[in-house]
């Protein structure tokens, strides 16, 4: 709310580093963020072939702790939180009572009674208020940790190999979907085996004061700075949802293809609504698609015969237009020919399986 009303954009701890690296900085969810450095395509391919680092410090963190932490998160998050071991990570959505998606989140279990949940920047205040409004009756403490963490995502086939030498003596990188409190470039950091690019890699959460030295160490190791534009093209090739594009309060997780992270038997807020849609079958589904000819789909383009594009771009790896669109459920099957109205020009496309880009084996 404050961000929307104010002209003042927040800067991450790495702002000076972005300027020094030649970044183009743009307003994003109330923050002044690097959208690109050398160029979107070059950064995209650097992540696919080598390793890139993204400053994602605008993302929020909520720490949930106390004897009731597990029971509380089990009530709030769609996934089965009891399945997260200490040092584990899990993806879930946060739903309204009617199943509408408030946010999509990664939650890391730092201890038996201590969890850290990463929120989308634009949703952080809303999420925190929603969680606090439901905390009565749980023996739980909710801490806004947004200002306590900078977050760097190091992604690409070479990412782990370049980060590992920066760890403290005797420390090892956590496996995929695991996390560990370690030291990177001499400073304490929560190291998570997660990402948003479809590549292997880690996400590093550290104190903002330690972030510049960590950034410098990563660049010195050969990691390439990558901006939010490349992050978007990478996640879309991988078919990862972007909240505000592909996820919204007016649609539920089943429609979005996120039924796999909804465990209605845990009785999370919204579980009844989600179960009803799952049982009846959704009226529409989010379908990955690729153009079979020229053009680039964009958010808001209509699907001919019903539906809308929620994300679209030119795939740097495939060289064709790709996107995600909500379409009538009977037109969401892989191989279905669809047409997208791109500002008055009808462009043929085909529904594909996800991901939209996969490395040759």
């Amino acid at each position: 709310m404050v961000a929307a009303a104010s002209q003042t954009l927040r800067r991450t701890a790495l702002f000076d580093r972005h300027v020094a690296a030649g970044a183009r900085l743009v307003p994003f969810a109330g923050w002044e963020m690097p959208v690109q450095y050398a160029g979107v395509r070059e950064e995209h391919l650097a992540v696919r072939r080598h390793a890139g680092v993204f400053d994602v410090s605008h993302m929020g963190e909520v720490e949930t702790r106390g004897p009731g932490a597990l029971a509380f998160l089990q009530r709030m998050l769609s996934n089965d939180v009891s399945k997260i071991a200490v040092g584990g990570a899990q993806y879930s959505v946060l739903c309204r009572e009617d199943g509408g998606v408030l946010d999509d989140l990664f939650t890391y279990r730092l201890g038996d009674d201590r969890f850290l949940t990463v929120t989308n920047a634009a949703n952080h205040a809303k999420d925190l208020a929603w969680l606090r409004a439901h905390a009565d009756g749980f023996e739980v403490e909710l801490l806004d940790r947004l200002d306590d963490y900078a977050m760097l995502a190091v992604q690409g086939p070479a990412a782990r190999g370049l980060v590992a030498p920066l760890l403290g003596d005797g420390e090892q990188l956590p496996a995929r979907f695991r996390c560990a409190e370690l030291h990177v470039a001499g400073a304490p950091a929560l190291v998570c085996g997660t990402g948003y690019t479809g590549e292997d890699g880690v996400e590093l959460l550290c104190a903002p004061a330690d972030a510049p030295a960590l950034w410098d160490a990563l660049l010195a190791a050969g990691v390439v700075p990558a901006g939010l534009a490349a992050r978007d093209t990478l996640r879309l090739e991988a078919c990862f949802h972007l909240y505000g594009n592909d996820l919204m309060e007016s649609r539920g997780p089943i429609e979005a293809g996120l039924g796999w992270c909804c465990k209605e038997e845990t009785s999370f807020v919204g579980a009844d609504a989600v179960a009803a849609v799952r049982a009846a079958g959704p009226a529409e589904r989010l379908a990955p698609f690729a153009f079979t000819g020229p053009g680039i789909p964009r958010q808001g383009n209509a699907v001919v015969g019903g539906g809308e594009v929620t994300s679209g771009t030119l795939s740097p790896c495939r060289g064709v237009g790709i996107g995600l669109a909500y379409v009538p459920a009977d037109r969401a099957a892989v191989g279905t020919q669809i047409e997208i109205d791109v500002r008055g020009k009808v462009r043929p496309a085909v529904v594909e399986d996800k991901p939209l880009y996969r490395k040759a084996a």
């Binding site: 183009r24 160029g39 979107v40 978007d232 020229p294 771009t313 030119l314």
Partner: protein, 128 residues
């Protein structure tokens, strides 16, 4: 991308388009500033030959990874040629915006319209 440049032999429209007039035909393109603001151009959707374009109105679309922009006609007339090479190599708009990145050639409808365009100095002054 080359460094900023605004050749003296061109005329400029405030929407960041240039025209090079040769008799009754003009070549159109976008300026260095326009391509730099767009970022890497990944798609150019040309108009059909024979289309009438009007000064100050959109005649084509150019897309970067993130955004779509209209391309504004600096002068009115009929399109007599489009740069077909941009279909496979739209990055020429970034690499050489006044040369290989030209977009269309137009048979001019009104020789007097050019008086409304700027020279390189006035255009750069507008950029600030």
């Amino acid at each position: 991308m080359a460094d900023a440049s605004y050749p003296d032999e061109l005329l400029y429209h405030p929407e960041h388009d240039w025209a090079q007039i040769d008799g009754d035909v003009a070549t159109f393109g976008i300026t260095w500033y326009a391509q730099d603001s767009l970022g890497e151009v990944v798609f150019f959707d040309p108009p059909e030959v024979g289309t009438q374009v009007r000064q100050g109105e959109s005649y084509a679309e150019v897309e970067s990874v993130k955004a779509v922009s209209d391309v504004i006609a600096p002068l009115s007339g009929e399109i007599v040629e489009v740069n077909a090479d941009l279909a496979d190599a739209p990055e020429r708009i970034n690499d050489d915006p006044y040369g290989a990145g030209w977009m269309v050639k137009v048979r001019l409808a009104d020789a007097g319209e050019r008086d409304g365009l700027m020279d390189a100095g006035a255009y750069q002054a507008q950029l600030g």
